[in-house]
């Protein structure tokens, strides 16, 4: 698969293939796409981000990430398809073009590279990072419980053997800390969307408290318009709302951290759960999932573009 047009978007790929694909995308769209390494994983793999920019300096930006929970393969698969869509639609789709003429998009497609690699080589069901926990034989931290947002609150575990182990301190995981440092260093992110699966939900803060955010109404209305757009393609029904009311109490999450650090349009997707098995989505559903997700992503990105703050 020597270029991104020949790439088989309808199947799952290894980390090496995805990283190679990133290089191809950068080579094919040199005026738009740049690959940036923002850090290294616990096991020393590069943490790569694709930057989509048409120029300017420190423009307002949109953050997208997928694959923080290693075993949720549909999320990087959706990320790859979406990144190609951003690159190929620029200059063709007026709305996306207008977004990129005023904002930059940063896309971290494999947010947990060690975990993702481990799912391909040793344990397909792995969810966490691969960091060592002193004093425990159990490996890894749930990187979606490790952020400095209500860290250690409800919905986390202090047991290193648990799938929701929060880690020894906030941002202990280099996979999390790299994003934190990058976003805070940039200082001008306006939207942050993290892509998970599989529950068919679109959620906004908070997850760690039942207190509503000051932007509750706006976020709720935006979430509704996004899930309506998503459902229009294949009829996939999403529920939506704040994390704590829609799924469960969860502390130390990406979306809450983004909001608490001034990124108003902070959302978490849970992609579709209509496969044969609910968890391991058949490869034939990759493209339909990506297509419908794209429509919702566009709604949020358009709103961020049209409502500067």
């Amino acid at each position: 698969e020597r270029n991104t047009n020949n790439f088989d978007y309808a199947s799952y790929h290894t980390l090496e293939e995805i990283y190679s694909w990133m290089d191809s995308l950068e080579a094919e769209y040199p005026d738009l796409v740049t690959k940036i390494q923002i850090g290294s994983s616990f096991e020393g793999r590069p943490i790569n981000v694709l930057k989509f920019s048409t120029g300017g300096s420190n423009r307002p930006a949109i953050w997208l990430d997928s694959g923080i929970h290693a075993r949720e393969w549909i999320t990087p698969a959706t990320g790859i398809w979406s990144a190609k869509k951003i690159a190929s639609d620029y200059g063709r789709d007026p709305s996306l073009t207008a977004i990129l003429n005023t904002m930059d998009i940063f896309f971290e497609i494999v947010t947990n590279p060690d975990g993702y690699y481990f799912t391909h080589t040793s344990n397909r069901m792995w969810r966490k990072t691969r960091s060592i926990n002193p004093g425990s034989s159990c490996v890894g931290v749930d990187p979606n419980r490790n952020w400095g947002a209500g860290f250690g609150g409800p919905g986390t575990s202090t047991n290193p053997c648990s799938e929701t182990y929060l880690g020894s301190f906030e941002h202990s995981e280099s996979e999390v800390k790299s994003i934190v440092d990058f976003i805070l260093g940039h200082g001008n992110f306006k939207a942050m969307i993290t892509i998970h699966s599989y529950s068919q939900m679109l959620m906004y803060p908070y997850g760690y408290t039942s207190t509503e955010t000051p932007n509750q109404q706006e976020l709720h209305t935006l979430a509704k318009s996004a899930v309506d757009a998503l459902a229009a393609l294949h009829g996939t029904k999403y529920t939506y709302g704040s994390m704590i009311t829609t799924i469960y109490p969860a502390s130390g999450t990406t979306a809450d951290w983004g909001y608490l650090n001034g990124i108003k349009y902070s959302f978490t997707f849970e992609l579709r759960d209509t496969g044969r098995y609910g968890f391991l989505l058949p490869a034939e559903q990759i493209i339909p999932t990506a297509q419908e997700t794209w429509l919702a992503l566009m709604k949020i990105m358009e709103h961020a573009r049209d409502n500067p703050y």
């Binding site: 088989d8 199947s11 799952y12 080589t121 040793s122 344990n123 397909r124 069901m125 053997c161 799938e163 529950s199 799924i247 469960y248 098995y277 609910g278 968890f279 391991l280 490869a283």
Partner: protein
């Protein structure tokens, strides 16, 4: 390489808050090595849990004795993983 031969994934549907509480208590039973894909939250949301083969009987007895509805969503996780692997090989060939 870790194998999942005989592991099943159950989709559990709780019908009351009491049943949700019972399911939450299951999360503390570490010897069963249950892997909750979707945790017990409220009755409107299904609970998905991967159950290692060794704990299947115990869990099913627990659910049935407490009148908690469930169905087997994945009959054998390893078979599904093998299919997935074959699908990847086919994709590579293509």
């Amino acid at each position: 390489q870790k194998l999942f031969v005989g592991d099943q994934v159950l989709r559990i549907t709780a019908s009351s808050e009491e049943q949700i509480t019972l399911l939450k208590e299951l999360q503390d039973l570490e010897h069963l090595k249950l892997d909750f894909w979707r945790e017990p939250v409220k009755t409107a949301l299904a609970v998905d849990v991967r159950v290692p083969f060794a704990g299947l009987q115990a869990l099913k007895v627990f659910l049935e004795s407490n009148g908690i509805q469930y169905r087997v969503m994945i009959d054998d996780v390893q078979m599904l993983l093998d299919e997935e692997k074959e699908e990847m090989f086919r994709s590579h060939d293509r």
